[in-house]
Symmetry: D2
Subunit: 241 residues, 4 copies
């Protein structure tokens, strides 16, 4: 399996808190944990100049992770269409944290994907509402994130095909924070934790969850072309009578 991680580099990561949380860089932290699955993992940088994702790398990707926050608008619209087409053909995607506001996420879901937020380092407890789900295997009734950016409802997404986690925040909010969507032959997973100044991706439960998410959204049958409308001239079933 080939996993590609698109990860933004932004000034928040250069802050003292950011460097303390991820001295090796948040993108490298994600790649390292995903390599433990045995997958071939490639890091692609996003920044104020856009996303350095080539057709060749995208064309070989089975599962694409996307972490972005400051530079959503810098992502090229043509690239967004290529990513969406590959999802329709079967590629899996995992959208992390502020990627709720990324162009590919909104393109694939069709809604504003807006939410309430507050950056106050408060505790999040993610309750599993689908205990038999492969993404939640072995992770117990809930996952605690000691400090996280609050993301709250109303989260303006279509009804998820599978709702796996609902987050509780100290300050009074709830959030559908672990959601699977199917689009064409592809599957998407959205997971809210992962602000760049909190070391959330170091938590063992979160690392296991992300590896299980990669396996879950991986294409069952490879990635094909985006299907177009097809004309079929003949009756597909000849009348037997």
């Amino acid at each position: 399996m080939k996993i590609t991680v698109v990860c933004e580099h932004n000034p928040g990561m250069e802050s003292e808190k950011g460097r303390r949380a991820y001295p090796e860089g948040l993108g490298n932290c994600l790649c390292d944990l995903l390599r433990e699955t045995g997958a071939e993992v490639t890091l692609v940088r996003a920044d104020e100049t856009g996303v350095a994702l080539t057709d060749e790398v995208l064309g070989g990707t089975d599962v694409l992770f996307w972490w972005g926050h400051w530079y959503h608008k810098q992502v090229d619209d043509a690239l967004v269409e290529k990513v969406a087409a590959r999802v329709h053909g079967g590629m899996g995607m995992v959208f992390l944290h502020s990627a709720h506001d990324s162009k590919p996420f909104k393109r694939l879901l069709g809604t504003p994907c807006s939410l309430r937020w507050r950056e106050d380092g408060e505790r999040e407890r993610l309750w599993c509402v689908s205990p038999g789900h492969p993404i939640a295997r072995g992770l117990g009734e809930f996952i605690d994130i000691p400090q996280e950016e609050m993301y709250g409802e109303y989260f303006d997404i279509p009804t998820p095909d599978e709702l796996v986690y609902v987050g509780w925040f100290e300050g009074g909010e709830v959030f559908r924070g672990g959601c699977v969507f199917r689009r064409g032959r592809g599957k998407l997973f959205y997971f809210n934790p992962g602000h760049e100044t909190y070391p959330t991706y170091r938590l063992p439960a979160v690392r296991t969850l992300l590896r299980q998410a990669a396996a879950y959204v991986a294409p069952a049958e490879g990635v094909g072309e985006t299907p177009a409308c097809r004309h079929c001239e003949q009756f597909s079933v000849p009348s037997a009578r």
Copy 2:
């Protein structure tokens, strides 16, 4: 529209807190608020001797409310089957609070409907996750319940057909507290608030919500027979060629 309210009378209601919350009785409080819709409303008592719901009353009911807590096991299995059959034929139902553990609810959903609970009078905030929904009309982003029994996930129900509210509890839990299920021609709504010792059904937002829920689950086309398997001898469409 004819609404029937099955409401248990139990010792909790006779406690000082219970009498202070509902001096007229919780069942009468429900009936009064539902009468404001213009519906004809009938109260049916449930207690340690079972539920006094006659075939005649059930047979004329468009929407059945169910509030029960102490005496679920005393409900007659034959009555449960009659209620389920009428739902399959189109009757709407609203299950309140501990009715999650009632026989008709479990019969219609097919799962244990178990949950976590704690009676500690803590605040619940119900967030609307479906803001265009008729049940939530005019009620804003959230509904606050000053004191309620905590009901928390994992709530062992099938995935709701429509998830309308998710509750946040002070003590750290979340709960899918406002859920619509379709079963046969009938619709069900489950709503978690309403412990017998807190005056939750006096809150204006809750009263509006319950009236809107009654309207939403009311049958679109009357209540018919439970459909049975039907043999059809002929090809339903004659071959044109």
Copy 3:
């Protein structure tokens, strides 16, 4: 209620078959049947120059019908965004027949919405798979369309929030031909029958269905702004302990 009907005028409508099916024009036929609801109905022409839908008309629309086939690509992208934003704010939409390939439909669903097709005037039988649904009220177990363009699976849409009709075609195909989707505060209904050379919109059952669809997708609470992400500085619930 204000209904706006965007309807393409194309050369197929000028053919002998087209003029025989709808001497008054397909768009006028749709408007006439919708006026029987008591709604104020406005017809907006689409053709090779695009869609003549002004901000003023769109801004007053509760439910927007969309019929297009030949000139999807001529629809202005900025208009598509305005339509999508109004749906997110609560406007209902009904997409008819080839509007499965229209820009607003694909924008709101996020998938290619491709399908198989054959224009051979064969019979379609639409089976109701949600008999208590308000859109299907009074219409029986199935609706017969004597001659229609075949649209077959795989129809590349997200899982509908409510599947109401599944079509059977003489030639061997099935099609999820009556589907409700919720997007933001708005509801969409897609209905496959209605090729411009068959008088499908004259069938009493189809006319009733379209009126019921308009009522079903109409906004419960008016149309508001598209919600954006909102920052909330304070804990929404002050800690009680």
Copy 4:
């Protein structure tokens, strides 16, 4: 993995057509194809005396197949409860053909599960409506069954959690014939083909599909106890402020 196959022995199987279709017995045919997965497979007979499924065999089962037709009523209610409890704890089930009318299916779904039927040996074409689904892997756009008993809509089931196949029948009907339901920690798959007098389970595509279904519904994490309501005395998250 341990698979148990409950398969009825009925007089239809002793008919000339029945013996020609499955000389080794339909139950043995199912067991043989499932053994190709490497699983340990046990056949359990059902007949007019009931189902010979012991607690020991059930208690060791990961995936339970159920084929029944004539003797649904002879199945012991206490066994039905045990089967349901094990599904809630994580066991997978595959219900075949007339098992739509079996007690465990109706117990787990909560609806009558009634349908239209006609035994006329007509062709069924099952169209895949979820092409990325693991159960459909490698099986193409449709599966043809040369002769099958017709099962048609309205099929009185809850909305499936995942709709994988929709059947087309020569005589004019459609049927949601390949459906996944999640109940508690367990997954169910229903598949309509398999009347006892047609050799459907010899078709390579059907055999592959059934093996993939077994893998799909297999528990991700073993089978546990049916969860009961749990009291939790303390706030689960201690207030930080």
